[in-house]
Each structure stands twice: as C-alpha cells, then as structure tokens.
C-alpha cells in the first residue's frame, strides 16, 4: 500500500456522498448575474481625494485601510468561513484607477439586459458623478495610451478608441494591476498580522533612531505595512462583532453555536497566529479577500500550496480529535465557494471578451516536492482531491504537481478524479518547472516550493501584465504585405512584398518572421513604457508586507528594483500558434510542394472566406497539420519558437529580467479569432484560433500520442526556455472509462511528465462537442474508436459510433 495513502482511504465513498447540506444550500446562490459592487471603488476614491499630497504607497495603504474599516460586511445564514465583498449572490469589484472611464459610456450604450453584470441605478450615479470625475485623465489606461508612440496605437486600439481593442497586440497591463501572484499565507497563519505589524514597527523605529525622517521611502513603506496590518485586524473584529450580535438573536441553537464560533475565530485571526485548521482557513480567506480590495491580480490572487501551509493545522486538529475529515472538507468547500462567489467583472468590452463568462483562475496546487526534495503529498492533499466542488463549479483552479516520486496511489487517484471531474484537476510538471526556475537563478530549495504557474513567493518579482500577441494577425501581415484584417486598410506591419511573387516557401516564411520580429519589438516597447509608469501609478502595501524582500528592504513591489529578487521579464502570450503553424504548412504543401493551387488563388479564396472554394477549403483543412507527430510540420513550430525565444533572450527589462513567453488559458483565442479573416489551414473567418500550444480543433488525427509528441517537439533545443504553457488535451470519454481507462490515463500522465511538458489540462469531450462533430465530421477528428483489434482507419466513422458514445455518456450521467 502506498505510504502516503491515509488510513481512511476506503471511507472516501462516504465522504464523497455526504454532500454537506451547507454546501448544497450555498451552491444555488452562485447562479444568476453577478453584481458589480462599487463600495471598494467609492471608499478608495474618497480616500485618494483626501490624500493627494501623500506618497503613493501610503495613499494606497490609507485607502485600503479605509475600505477594510468601512466596507459593508455580510454574514449569511450558511456561512462558516466569513467575509464577503457583496450581498447575496456573486459579486465583483470595480477598480476605477485601471480603465474605469469606460464604464460611463458603456452603461449608457448597453441596455441592462445585455450587460454581463448588474449594477443599481444609485451605484451607477455614484460612479458617473463621484468616482469617474476623480479618475478622469489619470487612469492607468489613459496614462499608458498617452505615452505610447503614435505608431503603436493602432496595433493595440481600434479607430483611435483606447477602449476598443484591435486584438493584434493586446496589453493586459491596464485591465489589472498585476500579474497573477500568490501571497505568503504561511506568514499570516504563523505570525499573524500582529507579527507583521511588529516587524514593520521595529524596522521603522530603527530607521528613526538612525535619524531618518518621515520622507524616507522605507519609513513610508513600513508605515503603510502597519496601516494595512491594522486594517486587517479591524476588518476581522467587525465580523466578530457582527457574529456575536447575530448569535444573540439567533433562535436555532446549532446556528447560534456556529455564530459564536465564528465570533471567536474572527476575534483571533488574522491578527494573531492561527490555532486551528478552521482559523487557518479563515485567516487565509480574509487575507486574499483584502488582496482583492487592494488590487486585481492576474487571473485573481492565488491560493498557493494549500496542502502544505494548512497541513500542520489540519494534522494537529486531527490528532487532537477536534475535527473530522468531513468537517475539514466542509471548511475547504466553504473556502472554494467564497472564491467562486467573487467574480472578475471586466468593465470593458475587451475584458469581457478575453475573460468570457467572467472567468477567473485562482491558482491552487497540491502535491509536488518539498523544499528538501521529498514528496510533499500528505493526507490533506488526498482530502482536497476528494472535494467535488472544484470540478463542479471550476473554482478554485486546482492543479496537482507531478514529479518522478509522486506516489503511485496518489497519481492513480488523481487520474480517477480527472475522469470523474471532466478532466479536472490540471497537472503541473515539477520536472520542468523547477529546473526552469533554477536556470533563472532561483535557489533549488525555493524553486521546489514554487506555487502554481511557477511563482516563487519571497524570491521573485515583476508584476506588469502580459501582452498578448495575435499570431494569426502576424501571418496575415505576411500575406497582405503588412496589412491584416483587424487593422483594416492601414499597413501596420512591415512592407514584405506580394507573396504571389515569392519563389519559394522560405521567402514566405522569412516575410512572416520579419513581421513577427517587428511585433515583438513593438511589444517590448509597450512593456518598457508600462514598467516606467508603474511606480507613479501602483502600490501594493498588503502584497509587499507579505513579501520578505520588500519587508527587508522597506520598499513596495511596484516602486523600484528589489535587490536579490529574481525578476521576470515582460510576458508575451502567443495566441493562435497552431493556426499559424498549420497555415504555413498548408501554404508550403499546396502552393510550393504539391503546386495544387497558386498563391493568388489561395489568397482569393481567403478573401472570399472560401465562398465558391469548397474543395480548396477541404484541401487546406486536410493538409499536414501540427499535432500529428509530423516532424516537417512540427519543425515550423520549432522555428517560430526559436525566433521568439531568441528575441526574448536578446532583451532585458529595467529590472534585469528577460522577456518571457506564456500561453494563456483564457478565452482570448475566441475573441482574437473573431477578427481574423479566413486562414490557409481551412479555418473560416471569425472562427476561434487554436488555443495555447494545442493543435487546431480537429487537426490532431492521431490521438493524444500525436498531440503530446508534437507539443514536446516545440521546445527541442530550447528546454531552458520552457514557459508557462498548459497543454490542452481532449479525451474521448468512451476510451477513458473503467479501470483500464484509469490505467491508460496514468500512463499518459507519466509520459507527459517524462516528455517534459509544462502543464496538462485534460477535457473529457462532452455531449455538445460530439454533436458538433457529427454535423461537421471533416473538421473534427479527435474522437478515437478503440476496440480489440479494430483499426480506425477511417477515423470519423459513422453516425452509429457517435450515437453509441452519446448513449454511453447519457447512461453515465443518469
């Protein structure tokens, strides 16, 4: 038996079916339109209006403390882990300092029915009359666009309107304050904000003793940290007070007990160190909620290694018999529901397009290695895996870290849960991410302690939002001599000539590379300007007070260069990689190698969106494609990567970090695809681009083997440059069922690990996907049929097969 397996592994089924009534009661409140809560914006704005003369970190801390002291608080009748940023239902905050001005126009333009969120008349008035007038002209979006060179504007914004993205290059530095990050929750649990207050106070006194005055940046920083820590204390005490009052008038004795327990808990944490598992979770939640008041992070602030920093509290409570596994799971489920209740509301059209459905990604991870290089899996890792909430509602964004020593039984359970959960949780590969960090200079022990998405708290820094590059637009520039569909008639790229005159494929490829080069240079320029503007625009006193380097050096993360920090460079996210690889492969195959069509005719077909060119469109779609272990096609991907990686290596940002590549998970490939014309891989105008490093939809005809092999070849010879890239794998549910299915998935995961991929997100194909396949069989190819001895020589077999699979899926659901 697996040593890491808890004694009660057999009782998982009972844990599983207990379906805590509390959680069942709370789930329905997650449906419905989220509400935009303006209190944070209002209190923040009022505070800023009063503190115009103060240095930014102090202003930000004052504003945050103001929010914590005055924002309305709510305790609902099923709440166990308290702290809500809004009333009943889902809610989101408004951050006017980023791109807020847009909201005024947007609300006037849209009728309420179309809006992806609800906002009351009164709140809207407060926004237009009080909040927006204050920020007008000084939001981050306005500042950035004012500083960008004129030549860059149309690459980012359409028709000169800075709230309308052109989706050629897309900066995300002004839709959020910062890249995703994970707070050092362990510090909060271990020392409490009191400990942090004391540390700041001590350092402040020492500076004063050395004769430094109030204008000293470090003194300003420590004052900010103390102010925020105290704000945390007040925020929790307000909850304790409210819970006690509610208990006094509560008729139900069980709930009264619960409320008194809540009061006791909030009277203690997060100011004091946590004494129990429940207090630890409560302190963690208060901290991340306050972080949402402070800033909007990446895909939202992450949870980090929950099974590690919560484990000591869990173990002690279990040993002392004060908690059961069921109770611990319920507490965690409450935390997940709190996370799901906060919605990332995007005020602008662009924001809601790239985060469709208000998606947010609170990185959370379990398993992996300890700092000492041992396997970190513990009983809590197993327990976290047992909750259905993450796969049911998609929150939090749960990842399991996999390494060579991941216990067999744990890996198996992970795979079982993936099959049950429609593909979730996602996986991260320690074997790639850890060496990738040490290469950058992170010490090995710290690298092993990385949180989701390769962040190392207390060691790394750099927070400017990434820039997204629509690679399909770059391909269009190569085809149309510097013009592209989203850019209209204006030539936004290089003048690379008429492709009909190119003698060889290499000529075309070089034209593409020239366009790509220029796009990358433009991105680096935008990021440089963004970085320059940060110190005068952003401060993050809470985040900084939980960052060792900031505390040691007395500096806010946004204010300058931290000594001894490992800095990221600006991130470039490539969207539509496979669409472009396949298009290049199709051009090479059809125009230059097989000479089945002239470049002129292909361009005409693209111009008409294949209208009247049905057979040509099929030829394009059936040309060799990425995702099938076709080395000549995969080599095109490698060449693109090589160019991008080399350009990154030649540059350095003002903090000393090299630019990096990432592949984002959000729905940008849909938004960007909408604006791109037909592409030579048979994709029609407006259809989504490919996602991440995954093959184009329907292009992978060899099953998971082909997808993994092709994706692993992208980095050949550039392993050091492996970047945040989640490989998405569509898995046919008919194959991954039963014990054999679990074994196959375990084998697949092991291969994925050894082929040195970065991350893996599986999706068990669902009903709607299958029905789509049935109706457009030649543009899907991913449903494998497997039976003993059966050859799926004709991959998209018959209606019968689909019906069969659909039938078995229905049977599974009911």
């Amino acid at each position: 038996m697996d040593p890491s397996m808890p004694h009660s592994a057999q009782s998982f089924d009972s844990v599983h079916s207990y379906g805590a009534p509390r959680v069942r009661h709370m789930l329905p409140s997650l449906a419905g339109t989220p509400r935009l809560c303006i209190e944070r914006a209002l209190l923040f704005t009022r505070s800023f209006a009063r503190t115009a003369q103060a240095p930014l970190p102090l202003r930000w801390a004052t504003a945050l403390a103001e929010v914590l002291a005055h924002v309305r608080i709510h305790i609902h009748k099923h709440d166990l882990i308290v702290g809500r940023g809004g009333a009943e239902g889902r809610y989101g905050f408004f951050y006017p300092e980023l791109e807020g001005i847009y909201l005024g126009e947007f609300q006037q333009k849209k009728s309420r029915g179309e809006s992806p969120y609800y906002i009351s008349e009164r709140d809207m008035r407060a926004i237009t009359e009080e909040i927006l007038p204050f920020w007008s002209g000084s939001t981050f979006r306005e500042k950035l666009s004012a500083h960008l060179p004129q030549s860059l504007i149309p690459l980012f914004y359409r028709d000169g309107d800075i709230y309308k993205p052109s989706f050629i290059l897309h900066e995300t530095a002004t839709i959020r304050h910062s890249l995703h990050w994970i707070l050092d929750y362990e510090k909060v649990l271990h020392r409490g904000f009191e400990g942090i207050w004391n540390e700041a106070h001590e350092k402040l006194c020492r500076l004063q003793a050395d004769g430094h005055g109030e204008q000293d940046d470090r003194i300003i920083f420590y004052r900010s940290a103390m102010m925020v820590a105290d704000g945390m204390r007040i925020y929790a005490l307000r909850h304790a007070h409210m819970a006690r009052q509610m208990a006094a008038s509560e008729a139900n004795p069980t709930r009264r007990e619960e409320l008194l327990a809540i009061a006791d808990c909030c009277g203690h944490v997060p100011w004091k160190p946590a004494r129990s598992f429940r207090e630890a979770v409560q302190a963690q939640w208060f901290t991340q909620l306050a972080s949402r008041f402070e800033q909007l992070h990446g895909g939202i602030i992450g949870n980090g290694r929950v099974d590690q920093y919560l484990y000591p509290y869990y173990r002690r409570d279990m040993e002392n018999g004060v908690i059961t596994r069921e109770e611990a799971l319920e507490i965690l489920d409450c935390l997940w529901l709190n996370i799901a209740r906060f919605v990332r509301i995007q005020p602008t059209e662009a924001g809601s397009l790239i985060y469709e459905g208000n998606a947010h990604y609170e990185h959370t991870c379990i398993g992996g290695l300890t700092r000492d290089g041992e396997d970190a899996t513990n009983d809590l890792s197993w327990l976290i895996l047992e909750s259905d909430i993450p796969s049911l509602i998609g929150y939090p964004d749960l990842h399991v870290r996999i390494h060579h020593g991941t216990p067999e039984g744990f890996l198996r359970r992970v795979c079982e849960r993936m099959i049950q959960g429609g593909g979730l949780p996602k996986l991260l590969n320690d074997e790639v991410i850890i060496p990738g960090l040490t290469v950058r200079g992170v010490p090995l022990e710290k690298a092993r302690d990385y949180c989701s998405a390769g962040k190392v708290i207390n060691t790394m820094a750099y927070f400017s939002g990434s820039t997204w590059l629509n690679l399909a637009a770059i391909l269009e520039m190569a085809m149309y001599d510097g013009c592209c569909t989203p850019g209209g008639a204006e030539r936004l790229g290089e003048h690379t000539g008429d492709p009909c005159l190119f003698a060889t494929f290499e000529d075309f490829f070089q034209a593409f590379i020239r366009q790509l080069h220029r796009a990358q240079k433009n991105i680096l320029m935008q990021q440089y300007i963004t970085d320059m503007l940060r110190p005068e625009s952003m401060a993050a006193p809470l985040l900084s007070s939980l960052h060792d380097l900031c505390m040691d050096q007395g500096m806010d993360v946004s204010q300058g260069v931290l000594k001894n920090a490992v800095y990221h460079g600006g991130q470039t996210a490539i969207i539509g990689l496979a669409t472009v690889i396949d298009s290049l492969a199709a051009i090479r195959w059809l125009v230059f190698e097989r000479k089945k069509v002239s470049m002129a005719m292909l361009m005409e077909a693209l111009r008409t969106n294949f209208e009247g060119y049905a057979s040509l469109r099929h030829m394009c779609a059936n040309a060799p494609a990425y995702g099938n272990m076709d080395s000549s096609v995969d080599a095109l991907g490698q060449r693109i990567m090589r160019v991008v990686v080399d350009t990154c290596a030649q540059h350095c940002n003002r903090f000393g970090g090299h630019p990096e590549l990432i592949y984002v998970q959000a729905t940008a490939h849909i938004a960007m695809g909408r604006l791109i014309g037909a592409t030579p891989n048979g994709r029609q105008a407006g259809e989504p681009l490919s996602q991440g490093v995954s093959p184009s939809p329907g292009a992978a005809r060899q099953g998971p083997t082909g997808v993994l092999a092709s994706a692993s070849s992208l980095y050949k010879g550039m392993e050091h440059a492996q970047c945040e890239s989640m490989l998405l794998l569509n898995l046919p549910p008919n194959i991954f069922s039963g014990d054999a299915g679990v074994r196959a998935l375990v084998a697949l995961v092991r291969t994925w690990r050894n082929q040195r991929h970065w991350g893996l997100a599986c999706k068990l194909i669902d009903r709607s996907y299958l029905i789509g396949m049935q109706h457009s069989p030649s543009f899907y190819g991913e449903l494998l049929t497997r039976a003993p001895g059966f050859s799926d020589h004709f991959p998209e077999l018959s209606e019968g097969v689909y019906n069969d699979v659909l039938h078995s899926m229905d049977a599974k659901i009911t």
Binding site: G703, P777, A787, G789, S791, F794
Partner: protein, 311 residues
C-alpha cells in the same frame, strides 16, 4: 534466418494506429497489415481482406461534381460516375485501384487503402511512441489482416521491434504455415500471442470464415510444444447466430484449457463498428442486421468460460 535475402521484404500496411488500449497490455501502437486468408462475415477490418491496394469512397464527404469533380478528370479508367445528387460513385468492375483519384480528392472522400511502407517509415512510427510503451507497460502489436500471411515482413518487423527493446504482441487468426522459417522466427520474437478461436465446428467455421479450422486448431496444439515460453491469449468474438451458444463457448473453453500456454481467454462481443467500411470499399456486409449480444448474454457466456476454461 536462412531465407532472408538482401532485398528488404515488403507488405502492404493499411494503417499504423497509435494509442491503442485493447491490443495487449498498456498503451500500444498497432501495425495493421493488409491481407487475410479468412473472410469472416463479421470482420470489422474488411479493408484488410485483400492483399492489394484498394480505393475507398466515403460518399458523405464528397462535395459533388458540381463543386469539385477533380477525380473524374484524373481517372485513367473513366470508372467514376456521378449519381443524381452529384456525388461520385466507383464502377468497381473497371477500377484498377491506381489511386490517382484519391491523390487529388480534396476532402479525402476517396482514399487509397494500403501502402508499401518502407521499413524505415514503420520503424519511425513505432519508435516515436516509445515513451508511451515505457510508462504504460505497452508496446507494439502486429495485427491486420493476418500478419503471419506475410511472414518475411512480419519477421523483419518483429526483429526491428525487439531490437529496440519494445514489447511485441501478434494478433493472428491462426491460419498460418507453422513450418515456414519466417513464421517461426516471428513467433520466437513475440512476447504475447493473441490467437483467435472462432468455432470448433468445422462446417460452421468454413461457412462463416471461408476456411476450415483444422489448420488453426493444429497450429494452436503445436504452439506449446514448439514455443513453450510464448504466452497465448485466446480471443473469441461472440457473433450472434454463429458462436453465441453456451455449448459453443463451452467447447472452445475446454479446448483452450487443454493448451497449456493459453493463459487467458477473452470473449469480445460482436461490434458493428466496421459496417460503414464495407460500404466505403464497395463490399457487401452480411451481418447487417445483427445486434451485438446483450451484456446479460455476455455474462451467461462468461460463466460458460468460467466453468470450462477457468477451472
């Protein structure tokens, strides 16, 4: 290895399929070799009947002569004609299976089945999945068709697989020449043999598969003597109206039990998965109306196997 000359042996491969989960242990790559001495009426790989290239036509993918019609222009035999709806049909009596139409078909409605694949290409397709074999306890399976019907090629391929340290399974219908040196050489290198048992009744066997079962049974009897270390998994597809009676399964179970190296016996329910392929190839599918045996029926037959084979 006495009959291997310098000329590399060739055989038609219909398909190399990655990520196979049912053709032996672990994740496997299966090489489907074209051509089979049997004509089982239920076979779901009819593209592997013939030992020569064939042209398949998937009507539903055809764009029609109004839109496309390229195939008709390139066909040297003029054997393609349009139906009333405009889609293409093949006059198979005239078709020489030259494959020109398939080369030009944009939608792959027309395709050529079977290719003389250079050994080097087969090797590449096999070896590139080695990671998957390693981590799943998988390997390569030779299937078809009947791989031992092209023994020289099978033996070379088997040697190649083993020289890379990859687990090798062979799926056979049992109808092969046991005295052939290349067959023996293939079996020597095989790690696991999937051996089909269809029916013990000679007459029925002949009627449904086209051949007598004497040779098959004899081969199975001889295997433990000549290859005592080669584990055999018996496979039996349960075909309605052919071998789905309890008596038939019991007899097969008893027979398999008498062969010491048969370590397992798998009953596989009939599947109509291959039905559309017959249509693509212009062949008649005789099992058209048969329904797969019910799970209940399979359980009954499993019990017959319990009582005979697994005692």
């Amino acid at each position: 290895m006495n009959n291997m000359n310098s000329q590399p042996p060739v055989a038609l491969i219909s398909h190399i399929q990655a990520f196979c989960l049912d053709d032996g242990p672990g994740i496997r790559t299966t090489v489907f070799m074209k051509g089979c001495p049997l004509r089982c009426s239920w076979c779901f790989n009819p593209e592997c009947f013939s030992f020569s290239q064939e042209t398949s036509l998937r009507q539903e993918r055809c764009l029609g002569v109004d839109v496309c019609g390229i195939c008709r222009n390139v066909c040297p035999e003029k054997c393609l004609y349009a139906t009333a709806s405009g889609t293409i049909r093949i006059d198979r009596a005239l078709c020489g299976n030259c494959g020109l139409c398939a080369d030009h078909c944009p939608t792959m409605a027309l395709s050529t089945v079977g290719r003389d694949m250079p050994l080097e290409e087969v090797k590449k397709a096999i070896v590139r999945n080695r990671d998957f074999y390693l981590h799943s306890g998988g390997g390569v399976t030779l299937g078809g068709g009947e791989p031992l019907a092209r023994p020289a090629f099978a033996a070379t391929l088997a040697g190649l697989v083993k020289s890379h340290g990859i687990h090798l399974a062979v799926e056979t219908c049992g109808y092969f020449d046991m005295d052939d040196a290349a067959v023996r050489h293939t079996l020597e290198q095989t790690d696991l043999l999937h051996f089909d048992i269809k029916h013990l009744d000679r007459g029925k066997h002949k009627a449904f598969t086209g051949v007598d079962n004497i040779r098959i049974m004899d081969n199975l009897r001889v295997l433990p003597r000549d290859f005592p270390d080669l584990p055999i998994v018996a496979h039996c597809a349960i075909i309605p109206g052919f071998n789905d009676s309890e008596a038939a399964v019991r007899r097969m179970g008893q027979f398999a039990k008498s062969i010491p190296t048969v370590c397992d016996f798998r009953l596989i329910p009939y599947s109509p998965l291959g039905a559309p392929k017959y249509q693509y190839l212009g062949k008649e599918f005789l099992m058209g109306y048969a329904l797969p045996p019910s799970p209940e029926r399979m359980r009954v037959l499993e019990r017959c196997l319990e009582a005979t084979f697994r005692t």
